[in-house]
Symmetry: C2
Subunit: 126 residues, 2 copies
């Protein structure tokens, strides 16, 4: 597992991340990458994502009430949030942050992270 080989499948998954430009689920990755590599197995998508995570290229995003999404580490390194379209179930990147969250934290609590998820309809569904 130390060595890595460049396969069509891995490249297709990488390309899906690049072209989508938004957090993707395994299912979405499978559908997108399958356009490049027919007969792509879901198992392979899981492995590709795992490998990209170990390489530090991709990070997981936990979302409320749904399976994990994955996004490029370059995107994730910039602090941002997400918009969830309730119609098509896709997630989009939101740039910016309301800020001033320290004021909301109760006495004695230590704030480390925060996660904001806007929801509604995306431009395609609106």
């Amino acid at each position: 597992m130390t060595l890595q080989r460049t396969t069509k499948q891995l490249q297709a998954v990488q390309a899906a991340f690049e072209t989508a430009g938004r957090p993707l689920s395994i299912e979405e990755l499978h559908a997108l990458a399958a356009e490049q590599v027919t007969s792509l197995g879901v198992r392979t998508v899981y492995r590709a994502v795992r490998r990209l995570q170990e390489l530090g290229d991709v990070v997981a995003v936990s979302v409320p009430g749904g399976s994990d999404r994955y996004e490029l580490a370059t995107v994730a390194s910039h602090h941002h949030h997400h918009f969830h379209c309730t119609a098509c179930d896709r997630f989009f990147d939101i740039h910016g942050c309301p800020g001033g969250l320290h004021k909301l934290v109760p006495e004695g609590f230590q704030l480390e992270h925060h996660e904001l998820t806007l929801s509604g309809l995306c431009d395609s569904c609106a």
Copy 2:
């Protein structure tokens, strides 16, 4: 299913909500209510929560990367958010809201709801 009977089990679950004052998982409800009613089955907790939901007393809360939590409808009716302690995995209510989220929404998107989850250490774990 139309009629309802007042049972120790249902009352214990209700009491758990009242005394906890924070969103609870099924597991937490089970543990808390079991202090009142020994040999309480998890199945019964699921049914009690379901019934309280149908009565409009309790609502479900989806959280990132975890099973649902439940909280009193009286609490949920006031707009609020949550703090997640990464050490004890408990959720707490946060009163207040950063606001100004409309400015973050991309052109053409329709904002309907939002959900903010602060995370870090609670006062007990800090």
